[in-house]
């Protein structure tokens, strides 16, 4: 088999890898904001729940979580498809790490912003939504970029629960052709390229979003 013939299955797999990354990033991002805000402003019960979530998912291995959701959950009656289990675990994982990023960024918004909201008679939710989070978002982007690269790398794990993403395709090709060097070199290269595109995208986003903020920051 030639290099060109490897590319078909590998690119099909790469597409699924990208899908997984995008879906998990969206859900994980939402979870991160919810958990981060819950840890800061929730009542005691909400705070405790958010802390347990964050500690459990940061304290255990992503692969163990994946196997638990895929192999162990069906035994207590919850059957997820491989794809659903993959997205759920990747998102929960990202959300747990992201919660700390959200917390750090929100804490870094100057206190005067909160006081100004108070003076304008805004509720706490309004202040958070319209004033604090939009500013914190910019500070979140560099660490979020790192987390999304980690997410991209973690998507390789779902090959072990039979999702036909790029690493899974590589294993199938390997079994069929034994051309391991070519296959795995290509796969590493494709991951590297996806990661570069992601990093570039985040940099652009950061540049765009921080444009209007310079005035607000310089006080």
């Amino acid at each position: 088999m030639s290099l060109a013939e490897f590319m078909g299955p590998l690119l099909t797999g790469a597409l699924i890898t990208i899908q997984l990354t995008v879906m998990a990033a969206l859900f994980g991002g939402i979870l991160a904001i919810l958990a981060g805000v819950a840890k800061m402003y929730g009542n005691a019960a909400v705070r405790a729940f958010a802390s347990v979530y964050v500690e459990v998912f940061r304290g255990t291995s992503a692969l163990v979580q994946l196997f638990w959701f895929f192999f162990a959950l069906p035994l207590i009656g919850i059957q997820l498809t491989a794809m659903a289990a993959g997205v759920v675990v990747l998102a929960l994982n990202l959300g747990a790490y992201g919660a700390e990023v959200v917390r750090g960024a929100v804490k870094a918004v100057p206190k005067g912003q909160w006081e100004a909201c108070l003076a304008l008679n805004m509720t706490r939710v309004q202040a958070l939504r319209h004033v604090v989070l939009p500013q914190a978002l910019v500070a979140m982007l560099p660490p979020a970029s790192n987390l999304v690269i980690e997410l991209l790398k973690n998507t390789a794990l779902v090959s072990l629960i039979t999702i036909p993403e790029i690493t899974f395709q590589a294993q199938t090709l390997r079994a069929a052709t034994l051309q391991t060097t070519a296959i795995f070199s290509l796969v590493l290269l494709i991951y590297f390229l996806i990661a570069m595109v992601l990093v570039y995208g985040f940099r652009r986003l950061e540049a765009n979003l921080s444009q209007g903020l310079h005035l607000g920051r310089a006080h």
Binding site: G59, I149, L160, A170
Partner: protein, 223 residues
């Protein structure tokens, strides 16, 4: 329901010795892999600082590459490609090598942060004292650069510990693989996988607590 809980506990107790054997392999892989990452990471950090661009540019590229590709694929690469080149190693050794290389990319960044934080005057003083670059690193820079970054290195150690289950994909019977073997034998995945989760959680919480303790003690000492 209660009977079920009792039988689950009995089952957990029965399989615990086998899981603990797996845990030994996990810990061994973590310790050896991290030792490798500490040594390689330092070499990489120094190479990246080199004024010889033929050395520093490729090193920077390798670090980026290792950091932005999955550990699992790197492990497969070592596991399936190295034998083609005539290098055959046991799965565990391959796994340790993979962990060490992947995490060397991360530790090198930590070292870099530590080295960059050493004041310029220290370098200048070393030049004034006519030390060569080897002596400068060994006696002046590293003794100041390394202590402050020990907590950050500790965090990397915890991350690596949590990545060791990936070795199960290249047939190493570590903690997760031990649980999967039990699951495959008995079709009871819930108990072994939950136990593995608990073991990881407890050990990483203890480790994280240790790192935090270290951090407070070091801040106190510096203050």
């Amino acid at each position: 329901m209660e009977e079920q809980a009792v039988s689950n506990l009995a089952f957990a107790w029965e399989i615990l010795p086998f899981l603990l054997q797996g845990l030994q392999v996990t810990v061994l892989a973590t310790v050896l892999g991290f030792a490798l990452a500490l040594v390689l990471g330092l070499l990489i950090a120094v190479a990246r600082r080199s004024s010889v661009r033929l050395l520093s540019y490729p090193t920077a590229f390798v670090v980026e590459f290792l950091r932005s590709t999955p550990l699992l694929v790197q492990l497969y690469f070592l596991f399936y490609v190295l034998p083609n080149l005539g290098v055959s190693m046991s799965p565990l050794v391959t796994g340790v090598l993979g962990l060490g290389l992947h995490y060397a990319a991360y530790t090198s960044e930590v070292y870099r942060g530590g080295i960059d934080a050493v004041p310029r005057g220290q370098w200048e003083a070393a030049v004034a004292l006519n030390l060569n670059s080897m002596q400068t690193f060994r006696f002046i820079i590293l003794p100041q650069a390394i202590p402050p970054i020990i907590p950050a290195l500790g965090n990397r150690l915890v991350s690596m510990f949590k990545d060791t289950p990936l070795l199960s994909a290249i047939t190493v019977v570590e903690l997760l693989q031990a649980a999967k073997l039990i699951g495959a034998d008995t079709f009871l995945y819930l108990v072994p996988l939950t136990l593995v989760g608990i073991l990881f959680l407890v050990l990483s919480l203890v480790a994280a607590w240790g790192v935090r303790l270290l951090e407070t003690r070091m801040t106190l000492r510096r203050a």
